[in-house]
């Protein structure tokens, strides 16, 4: 039995510790917001936070998570209140939407480290998440929007 701290709750699962965290989230815990895209850490659709660090859940054995805190898209905020979710809505970022949980988790980790990132800092942090629909311009705009303290918004 493996015990995990996910989105503020403690969850227990009976799986092979080699099972990637992605499939534990999706198939065992019903947290399907984290997506499968490539299985080998090339596309970023599966990004989650471990103690705030963005990691590819598809290559993270669940047995290696240990006591670290797991945050998934479902745990980013209740009621779409995260500044990035609000910015994503304001900029109408998603098209098909499949990669967007990974994009949001990558962006959230970026803003936690660098509250007002430059374009090149956005490139560096976000180039690990692929989008086939081509929403990159809007992702960039949304990150800048979320990075501006809202009190300064007109």
């Amino acid at each position: 039995m493996i015990s995990l701290r996910i989105n503020g709750e403690t969850r227990r699962v009976e799986v092979d510790p080699e099972t990637p965290l992605l499939w534990v989230l999706r198939d065992h815990l019903g947290l399907t917001g984290t997506k499968y895209g490539c299985g080998v850490a090339l596309c970023g659709s599966c990004l989650v936070h471990l103690d705030g660090e963005p990691v590819n859940a598809c290559v993270t054995p669940v047995g290696a998570v240990g006591g670290r805190t797991v945050t998934t898209i479902e745990g980013l905020a209740k009621d779409l209140s995260h500044p990035l979710q609000r910015a994503w809505i304001a900029e109408q970022v998603p098209q098909c939407g499949y990669c967007q949980p990974g994009q949001l988790m990558a962006a959230a980790a970026l803003l936690a480290k660098i509250p007002q990132p430059t374009d090149s800092e956005i490139d560096q942090a976000m180039s690990r998440v692929l989008c086939r629909c081509g929403t990159y311009s809007r992702i960039r705009r949304a990150i800048h929007r979320a990075a501006v303290p809202e009190t300064k918004e007109v």
């Binding site: 799986v15 092979d16 099972t19 990637p20 499939w23 999706r26 198939d27 065992h28 019903g30 399907t32 917001g33 984290t34 997506k35 499968y36 895209g37 490539c38 299985g39 080998v40 090339l42 596309c43 659709s45 998934t72 898209i73 479902e74 980013l76 779409l80 979710q85 994503w88 809505i89 109408q92 970022v93 998603p94 098209q95 098909c96 939407g97 499949y98 990669c99 967007q100 949980p101 949001l104 956005i122 490139d123 560096q124 976000m126 180039s127 998440v129 692929l130 989008c131 086939r132 629909c133 081509g134 929403t135 990159y136 311009s137 809007r138 992702i139 960039r140």
Partner: protein, 727 residues
Amino acid sequence: MAQRLRLSRRDFLKISALAGGGLLLGVHLPSSGRLAEAAGDAVFAPNVFLRIGTDGAIIVEVARSEMGQGVMTALPMLIAEELDVGLDQLSARFAPADTAYVNRLIGQQLTGGSTSVRDAWVVLREAGAVAREMLVATAAEQWGVPPGECRTERAQVIHGASGRRTGYGELAAAAASQPVPESVFLKDPEEWRLIGTRAPRLDVPEKVSGQARFGLDVRLPGMLFASVERCPVFGGRLLRVDDAKARAVSGVVDVVPVTAGIAVVAKDTWSAFQGRKALAVDWDFAGNETLDSAAIRRRFEARLAERGVPVREEGDAPKALSGAAKTVEAIYEAPFQAHACMEPMNATADVRADGCDVYVPTQAQTRTQQVAMTITGLPEERVRVHTTYLGGGFGRRGEADFVLDAVELSKHLGRPVQVVWTREDDIRHCFYRPATLNRLRGGIDAAGSPIAWEHQIVGPSILARVAPAAVKDGVDRTSVEGAANLPYAIPNIQVDYSLAGTQVPVGFWRSVGSSQNAWVTECFLDELAAAAGRDPFELRRALLEGSPRHLRVLELAADKAGWGKPLPAGRHRGIAVAESFAGFVAQVAEVSVGEDGQVRVHRVVCAVDVGPVINPDTVEAQMEGGIVFGLTATLKGAVTIEAGRVVQGNFHDFPLLRIDEMPLIEVHIARSDDPIGGVGEPGTPPIAPAVCNAVYAATGTPVRALPIALGPRKAGAEKAPAAQPMA
């Protein structure tokens, strides 16, 4: 003031009472698509677009698939505009498979060909107007006032003089017994309150909360997960399998042969993947294991050596060529391309004795239903298709191979089964954009005007697989679109097509034939411009006098891009224009080419004319998306064949454009009163030629094969394009 218009198909409108009260607006839709004509009978069946409950709930049934193109918002906008309700007052849900939801431009219930809004543009506005008129009539009767004194706003009928107002929900039950009007008013464009606005998409909140349900997110009680090992070589088949080790993998429940290969079924996806790796399979490669890209090219070359089937002949191109002052000849080569939707292919089926439910991210409800009916033997009404959100489509999800996997497995096991394709399955078992080989010859007269154009296209046919009867006299119209309809006023034009099948399965890939034909023709036009010593924009402008919509977007793009104005050192522009799916798009790309031959696209200015615009934000998003999709194929990847199989398998060798390679994209929507066009696909065709023409401007060497692969550049290699002498 709007004119009262006869309903375009009043005979088909039906209104009935909802069970439990309320109004249900149904429409019988005849099919008029080409495929339906071929099938020889029209489709008549009841269908529901709109439900208004006595509680005021307004539900719009969206009969097209949402794959990012915004249809889940655009179609309800059409109804809401005429019904006078806010988008925030309705909910949209995906319609089941039903013959009544047939896309009349295609003849099946299918989302593709950038047809959704074109198909719905009139009928959904009429549906909204009819419902509104009946609600008004009901209220007017109840109040004893003339209907003409009533207006509607935000789901209420209002009688201005008396100040009375009633919500649609309270009127719905009585409205359902009103006669269907013979004719309705449709608003004039200046009366639109919703159409033409940047209405927020209805699907965005779910897509940023992680709650949006894609195909892979379907969870049913007792469900199993499966992964199918397919023959790596095209056209092969299973000989024997040793599944002992696979069955020993923890979590594996069964190993089952299916049409496509051999499936490992498990309690979770990961166990199915692990079990699959433990299979030992012998395949019969059917002799295809020697097929490779070079052999396919030789096959194409052999066809190029003989005359193809003429698809357009005007004047006498060979004669004009022989008398031309200058001639240019070139071979253009486009590779196979995979769709690489971010959500790998999948489907979930629940087959029982009395019925079958298929939960699937599909563009093709009709085909899905037909496949499930064939496998289960169940009648149409017992096979229910539940369309989820699609994590990308691009034409790939118009297929039903993943549905076949799931239905076969669920039938065999008697339990719900979700089939999950790996990324490698997706790249290696796609229906690829056809590879083509093209020969072009062009002639220019002494005054520098193009007088002859010859284009021969060699490649495999999509229709030969999906609708063989639609291949007429050896011509697949999808293979020549974007080439046969060359818009330029050149007096002698000859376009030929040579169908050259291979074992590699081909399919519809965003913008289909135009995705490569626009590249070929627009790049070759720049070669002619160079040979004639003319500016590529000015030459196009001169040749497009009779094509006002091409001209409109060409001039808009050139103007907004500052065509002809100086650029920073090392930057070059290229321009291209194309019509596809009734959308007209021109793009100007600004690129630089590094010492290492690396092409960087800095800026793309895009001008688009699609006639009336439902939602400008969606049009912009689709242009951005179409450009990025095309840029990946221009700059990054290709599918190649070795030993009968696809070489590429994941994003390391089939790379997609990343955010750090993203150009600045500016979209300008042309004011246009011309007929409505598609937006999902037309953004893609111009980008490859715009970029390649900019590279040509930078290097003086035309780009005649994709993706662009330039070697390291010699010092001082930058030069103006020069004419390529005819071999």
